[in-house]
Symmetry: C2
Subunit: 439 residues, 2 copies
Amino acid sequence: MFICVNCSKNSNLFSIWDYGKIEDMKNESSLLIKGAVLKGASSDVRIRDGLFSEIAPSLSPLPDENVIDAHGMAITPAFYNLHGHAAMTLMRGYADDLELFTWLNEHVWPFEAKLKAEDIYNGTRLAILEMIKSGTVHLEDMYWFTYEAARAAKEMGIRARIGLLALSTNGDADKLNRECLDRIDEFRGIVKISIAPHAVYTVNESRLLQCLHASEEYGLDLHIHASETEKEVADCQKEHGMSPVAWLDKLGILKETTILAHCIHVSDEDLEIIAKRKSWAVHVPFSNMKLASGAFPYKRVREFGVKACLGTDGCCSSNDLSMFGAMRGAAYLAKLFHKDPTIAPAEEVYAMATRQGALAAGVDGGVIEVGKAADCLLINTDLPCLVPNHNLISNLVYSASSECVDTVICNGKILMRGRVVPGEEEIIAKARESVKRLA
Amino acid sequence: MFICVNCSKNSNLFSIWDYGKIEDMKNESSLLIKGAVLKGASSDVRIRDGLFSEIAPSLSPLPDENVIDAHGMAITPAFYNLHGHAAMTLMRGYADDLELFTWLNEHVWPFEAKLKAEDIYNGTRLAILEMIKSGTVHLEDMYWFTYEAARAAKEMGIRARIGLLALSTNGDADKLNRECLDRIDEFRGIVKISIAPHAVYTVNESRLLQCLHASEEYGLDLHIHASETEKEVADCQKEHGMSPVAWLDKLGILKETTILAHCIHVSDEDLEIIAKRKSWAVHVPFSNMKLASGAFPYKRVREFGVKACLGTDGCCSSNDLSMFGAMRGAAYLAKLFHKDPTIAPAEEVYAMATRQGALAAGVDGGVIEVGKAADCLLINTDLPCLVPNHNLISNLVYSASSECVDTVICNGKILMRGRVVPGEEEIIAKARESVKRLA
């Protein structure tokens, strides 16, 4: 809220930005972005029915069309976050800098044991708010109370694939998962349900097969942690005589749409398998660093032609959800790890966060082109960290932060304008209420 | 600039925030911050003559005192950036992801050859603007046209130590450096001049000794790159039969106030020397990663009791100047490098960016305590990336970004309020003018 110096009245930023509540827009299906800089040239971009429909130096508004004046801003693809545990926002900063088992036994699990459906809803909304504020339009989620998380995503207008989490023994969660599958047709739009067996060390063979069969029966994609730690690989070798990747492949889990989070401790044979199956390797650099899990073998992943994209993990692993950090972390870690500053150039990690990420999310988007999904950002290039603008992509990867994102459009709908997301104060208040009860 | 929805007139944010230009304040020497959260409790903080003078649950405003309403915000120490090349902002994103010598020969040096005094002034102002926007109050600089950079810092109210850069042969810069030393008494306040021999591989023995003598004659501190690359160490061994650290020590460069930037490839003997001389090791994590220079030996630096602080480097090395990135990079890199998630906990790297950084900068500050330098930030803890607030320091290190900094106070003066720095549009316009001519 700002006080106007001319009339001394309160001015709600929300109204100032002339887009009102998203539901008040004149014609939901048509939007014209005027004067945004696209690849160096001022462009008008029309969005109809969730797709970019026209791009030209100048387009006239249609009757009843919503118009955004984007002069002085750049229009860019939005970001796609391919691995996370959204509601873990509630545990941000709750327990850091600890040994894995101290962290899990004494902090994470006791906290999680108290989580109720409402907390997942509140925590997921907080995560989505943070993601929108940092330019992300897709959430690949794996946590408890799937229905509540999916409901939060649907209400907030973000794309999501919310995983039905499976362990060898799920306890009460099994019933909830079944109920969620019964209502699966509520989630066939931009918010989908996926099947998320946790990892080979927490999900036994019969349970993995059950997940596979459910994914086939309901037409759902798979999302699993793979080769995150050395211990996971050693234990799998001992138990199954093969690596986690080979084991998952043997069971049939590695499909073209399967999301493999982390993929750090992978052999050449593992990379050959992943490349052959065309599954997605999700690089999660800041989580891997903070938890000392290891370094993603960026160069070999490229050499083997493995499809790769980026994620942030949940806020309990690495504490924020910004894809700016994921991009910078991916580039910097690869350069250091491979002792080569030319590895992982800005364009490449930017593509991982945009075009590659979109494809991994099952969206023909991640680029500003006619016919592609209308997911985009308006970037405020007047912030000092983006000045000068020798190379916008370099700036976005190496010096931008969330504040540079002025506007977020997902599936043709405005989720944020002028850095304001409708209802953000209530979302934060509700998350705090949950934390007060849990911590 | 916002359009008021009530009267349809333009409202300048600057006036809205009710602090006007800094020079319009009622009484420059006295400021009362009301209701800020300090270590979990609402506190009033009085600042007089550049120091924190009173801290209590409630203080009444004095006649003519400037008052900041900080309810709902946290008050924290500001950040001190102990290594950079400020005017390199002009080259942000100009040449990334290249081999060292391609980068220098084909991009950096041709660009630098065209730099004039005015460009350094413009580029330094842009750097300081970016630093203030990310909560930094001290610039440790090493670049050309020292007088212009120091003038920029003085005008903008930030603390700085601007280094007179020395190579074996300085060319025209020698004359400028001498002129700057002639005017040294202009820079005895919060903006100081230092002596900055570039590194052992670019500055020969006689020149290093000349720097040492100038530093003693004028009472100036020393700032030098040390042990940044393997090649630097190998070449020094070959030329002088000892490491860069041992060589600098032999020449007498390692004083208690000497700033050693990078300190990556240091032996145990080197660390023993640095600890004994009580010089400062500046960890510059993102630059070291992006340029693939190597990993700072965090654990050994701690074990040997070396005084350590943080820096960002110039925007040509790592592209932004945010100390949030430096803190996160330091923590994450140490954990990965030492394969131990308990290394470099948030409190420790936070201290490196605040209390340790202040001491390295020669300032008895970096903490909010009566009698200490009045450098502080007001943090907006309502941004989603800082919610919930289980642990503010963890949040600041692991999930905050520049946008969280609402207000910056340096030496008791307000440099930013409501994220607005006076004159920022002109600073950006001037930097763009320089770049247009240079690129």
